[in-house]
């Protein structure tokens, strides 16, 4: 009796204490919190942050970051030793054999160049170099120079040989620019790596390209804000989208730009005019493939609300939000219920313009 006493006591205590642990909402009571890992690095001209939750979160984040670095190195057009630079250096000379990653992304980019009727064009590099937005100082090229550069932009002259896995630009002076796709592709790759490590809840922020993986650790969907392109009118955010396993990519005229003579010159060119696109100030794509969303946000930006949203609807399985130069918000119909508009009303006036 004396010996069994303590054991009975312990048993009774355990039963009492455990009965307090009935399932509550995913939260703290009785639950071991998931390990969190977060890492921020500067690459691809932007800040990349990966936040992941899971038993192997730290290792997952490190490996995902390494994968993004690898992709960034392949596709950096400003690094003369990158694959993309080698393609550009050999324009009009010879095909260049590339990695599977570069080839796959170029194929995707070419497909959407065609689908968008050239509104997105992966061979836009001559225009990017000419304008040098963010590198040159408030430089507006003359019409003849723009015309010369524009003539070198044509996705049809990008020859992809699937069997040999080679890439060839037909004319000298042409150039590939994956600035509108590489961040998305890198985010997709990082997501794959996280998933391989058993991460089921993570946030990849590749300079504003967001991959919301799974749900938040508290069981709620991630809440992803869409930046208000004119924060002086109505605050920092335009809207919030509850997101589960979604990627959100936005193209805006506010990222790299200069204003000369009251005109805003930004970094998203309409390959058909050779000048910064004018029909949109912000375009967001919500989908499940970040490279695709990255490319399409540029296409949508260039095409404008009407043609752009028509293209998005035609492609299917995608949602989109566009802000017009009048600061009107237009979105695909499915999104209207989910989009939480947080921009303060009365913010659409002309003041400060």
């Amino acid at each position: 009796m004396r010996n069994r006493g303590p054991r009975l006591f312990a048993l009774a205590l355990a039963v009492i204490l455990l009965s307090g642990c009935r399932a509550r909402g995913p939260g703290w009571a009785g639950q071991v919190p998931l390990a969190k890992a977060e890492k921020t690095e500067f690459m691809m001209d932007t800040v990349i942050t990966i936040t992941a939750y899971g038993p192997k979160a730290a290792e997952a984040v490190n490996n995902a970051m390494a994968e993004m670095r690898r992709i960034a190195a392949l596709m950096n057009a400003d690094d003369p030793k990158s694959e993309v630079s080698r393609i550009n250096q050999n324009a009009g000379k010879r095909p260049v054999r590339v990695s599977e990653d570069t080839f796959r992304l170029l194929k995707l980019a070419q497909r959407y160049s065609e689908l968008s009727g050239g509104a997105f064009d992966v061979t836009v590099r001559p225009l990017v170099v000419l304008w040098g937005i963010g590198k040159k100082d408030k430089y507006v090229p003359d019409a003849a120079a723009i015309e010369r550069a524009r003539a070198l932009v044509n996705w049809r002259d990008l020859i992809l040989d699937e069997k040999a896995r080679t890439v060839y630009l037909r004319r000298p002076g042409m150039g590939i620019d994956l600035g509108g796709a590489a961040k998305g592709y890198a985010a997709d790759r990082a997501r794959e790596v996280l998933l391989e490590h058993g991460v089921r809840s993570a946030l990849i922020d590749a300079g504003g390209n967001i991959w919301a993986l799974g749900r938040r650790p508290d069981g709620e969907p991630w809440r992803i804000g869409i930046r208000n392109p004119r924060p002086e009118h109505g605050g920092e955010l335009l809207a919030v989208v509850p997101s589960e396993d979604l990627t959100l990519v936005t193209s805006g005229d506010y990222e790299r730009y200069f204003i000369r003579d009251g005109v805003r010159y930004h970094h998203i060119f309409d390959p058909r005019t050779g000048r910064p696109a004018r029909s949109t100030i912000s375009a967001t794509i919500i989908g499940r493939n970040s490279a695709e969303a990255d490319i399409l946000s540029t296409a949508l930006f260039v095409l404008g609300p009407e043609q752009g949203l028509a293209l998005i609807r035609k492609l299917g399985n995608l949602e989109a939000v566009v802000v017009t130069p009048e600061e009107r918000i237009v979105s695909t119909s499915n999104l209207e219920d989910k989009l939480e508009i947080v921009r303060q009303e009365g913010g659409t006036g002309d003041k400060g313009r």
Partner: protein, 129 residues
């Protein structure tokens, strides 16, 4: 009582008065923000949230907890628990709350009504831009 007893009494009294003073100071320093939000939680989950100014005097909101419906009622820029299915009615005795940081808590019905200064500081996890 021993000297140690007295010491304990004094320390506890000091702690109590100190925390009262702290609360008083915080309250005195607080300006009522125009966009004060009433947040209603059950089991730690936000079930309702609205601007304090939006709740007109006499207007009621119901919230369902494990014991039944708790009813909150609005006043002139303030709220209180009007009725509650809990046995002790501590939440009703709390009276009006109006300042950010104040809360009405009903432990038996798992209901918390509290006031925040504005929309939760970070209502999003990341921003696409």
């Amino acid at each position: 009582m021993t000297r140690a007893d007295k010491l304990i009494l004094v320390v506890v009294l000091g702690l109590a008065l100190g925390s009262f003073a702290l609360i008083g100071l915080r309250r005195a320093a607080q300006v009522r923000p125009a966009e004060a939000q009433v947040v209603v939680e059950v089991d730690g989950r936000v079930v309702d949230m609205f601007p304090l100014a939006e709740l007109k005097p006499g207007e009621r909101r119901q919230v369902r907890g494990p014991l039944g419906y708790s009813v909150i009622i609005g006043g002139d820029n303030k709220v209180r628990m009007e009725s509650s299915p809990c046995p002790d009615k501590v939440c009703m005795a709390r009276g009006w709350i109006s300042l950010p940081g104040e809360a009405i808590v009903c432990v038996p019905n798992h209901v918390v009504v509290h006031i925040t200064g504005s929309l939760p500081e970070k209502s999003y996890d990341a921003v696409t831009q």
